[in-house]
Symmetry: C2
């Protein structure tokens, strides 16, 4: 039987290495100043204290703090369907994970979801303060695009531009950012199931979709396959989100690594609240099956993606 | 005599038009949901309330609220030195202004500089709330890269990637984001003049520099000219910043459109505080002269940039 947990763990290790290499390092921060008198060449420098180390520390703290690494896994798996080089796939995956990490840092802020824990440790603003957390999020988001524009992502610059546009759209106001705003507005508000689905599609679905799509873009895959992977991701992503909401109702902080019962306390409209636990669980299973059907055009190379669809609805954390 | 104010006003109008066109419009937000039953095609949609309108409104409110538009002006002027098409220059300028706007929104947040006014009107979080302001900043930053990756910026994708990398670096942890962290750390802390110069170089200098450099990148200019424009921008930017600090000491809110006397209240280390008003003013004039010297390799087409260097140190708001 295929060991999905092992495969996820492998990707996590490789991703951590890639992110560790890519991210700015406090040791590498150039603690240099240029005097007024001799600012014409950048060689005339002297050492001084450097405040941006704090942002770099905060960026690394949050990015390298573990997590399921589902999005990078999707990118690497989908890139593998089209024979993309592992380095290109992993660099792209790291950029996507930087964007995911920034969103978690900002979502945890007091003005947003106000969460003190993330991945089993203090959230970024609890550890470094609010200002550093806001800036660390900004820094990670900015850095993701710096990475994506780099040659090592793909030799063809038009592929890199396509990646950047597609990822920016998914992360932006018609994707993750818009979804987070809807989510905050959803507190103490009655919502229909369809509205909640749209919310989830924006908040998490688009980033899941682009994580898969990125592999297809890197591999210059035909439009039809790219769309199949998007649909797989959207169904799988919604199944994942419903499971998250179920764990929020039924889980414990020890298992999930974050505060539980928050949705109910905040009066948030979730599919679990609207459909009830049993119907929500059934729905997540239906979605996982539907997700797998979108993979019909792929051969057994997509088996891991099929196993993953089953995993996201059966997981306990 | 050359009418710089008129030229700045012209660019402002054109920039507003470009940003208005580029930015998401609440009317264009797709208020659509996809039902669980028929999620396989994106045609099966129904209308519903859409929460992301609020983020779009906040993005437009801050981006289209006026300002000096110095950075876009620099991009357009520098692009003009190399015969770049006005549309390409203006689209790039708009993207840079989106990044500048996001930084103002986040800098004004209570956890950062805590400023209630910006450009003579309530700052973004005072108008839309903190959560929407954080997300509007995130949305603008993300959107800037979506715009920069678009074909209309340049037909050559490698030029677009070079722009994205250079702008992301200037906006990131070794540029604007790092400078803002240093600035927050600088409150109630003694700093030497050279440390303050490094802080300003990161906080505002790198974005000024990349605003000029973007014109050179679009025009595939020789490395030497690109560097000359960077140096011009750094000297001019520092002169600009010293003038800002002088206005904070001597100006009024009516004239500057923002809260004044804040640096002193916050105990911030500025060159004005370290050097005193008179020496700081002299220094700003020296920097403006130095900035103009970097333009020696350009003919009279760079005259506007020369006039601008004089303007930034003589302005009253």
């Amino acid at each position: 039987m295929f060991d999905l947990q092992g495969a996820l763990a492998d990707i996590s290790v490789q991703l951590d290495e890639a992110m560790h290499e890519l991210l700015p390092n406090p040791g590498n921060v150039s603690n240099k100043v240029i005097s007024i008198a001799s600012r014409e060449t950048s060689d005339d420098v002297t050492e001084c204290h450097s405040g941006e180390n704090k942002v770099v520390d905060a960026m690394r703290y949050s990015a390298l703090s573990g997590g399921k690494r589902l999005r990078p896994f999707l990118t690497v798996e989908c890139a593998g369907l089209f024979g993309v080089s592992p380095q290109a796939a992993m660099t792209t995956a790291a950029a996507i994970e930087f964007i995911h990490t920034y969103s978690l840092i900002h979502d945890d802020l007091p003005a947003m979801d106000n969460d003190d824990f993330r991945r089993g440790q203090p959230s970024c603003h609890k550890k470094f303060g609010e200002a550093a957390a806001i800036l660390a999020g900004d820094g990670l988001l900015t850095f993701a695009f710096e990475v994506l524009a780099h040659r090592k992502v793909h030799a063809d610059a038009s592929v890199r531009c396509e990646l950047i546009r597609t990822i920016a759209k998914a992360a932006g106001v018609f994707g993750m950012v818009g979804g987070q705003m809807m989510d905050l507005d959803a507190e103490h508000k009655a919502m229909e199931a369809e509205e909640i689905i749209r919310l989830q599609r924006l908040k998490t679905g688009e980033m899941f979709a682009v994580s898969c799509e990125a592999g297809a873009i890197l591999g210059k895959a035909p439009e039809q396959m790219r769309n199949s992977l998007r649909r797989y991701a959207h169904d799988m992503g919604l199944a994942f989100q419903i499971t998250d909401d179920l764990l929020d109702v039924e889980g414990t902080r020890e298992k999930t690594g974050k505060t539980v019962g928050k949705d109910q306390t905040a009066g948030k409209a979730t599919l679990v609240a609207v459909l009830g636990v049993e119907r929500a669980r059934e729905q997540s299973k239906t979605l996982a099956e539907q997700a797998k059907q979108h993979l019909a055009c792929f051969d057994k190379k997509a088996n891991t993606l099929r196993v993953l669809a089953d995993y996201v609805v059966s997981r306990r954390s």
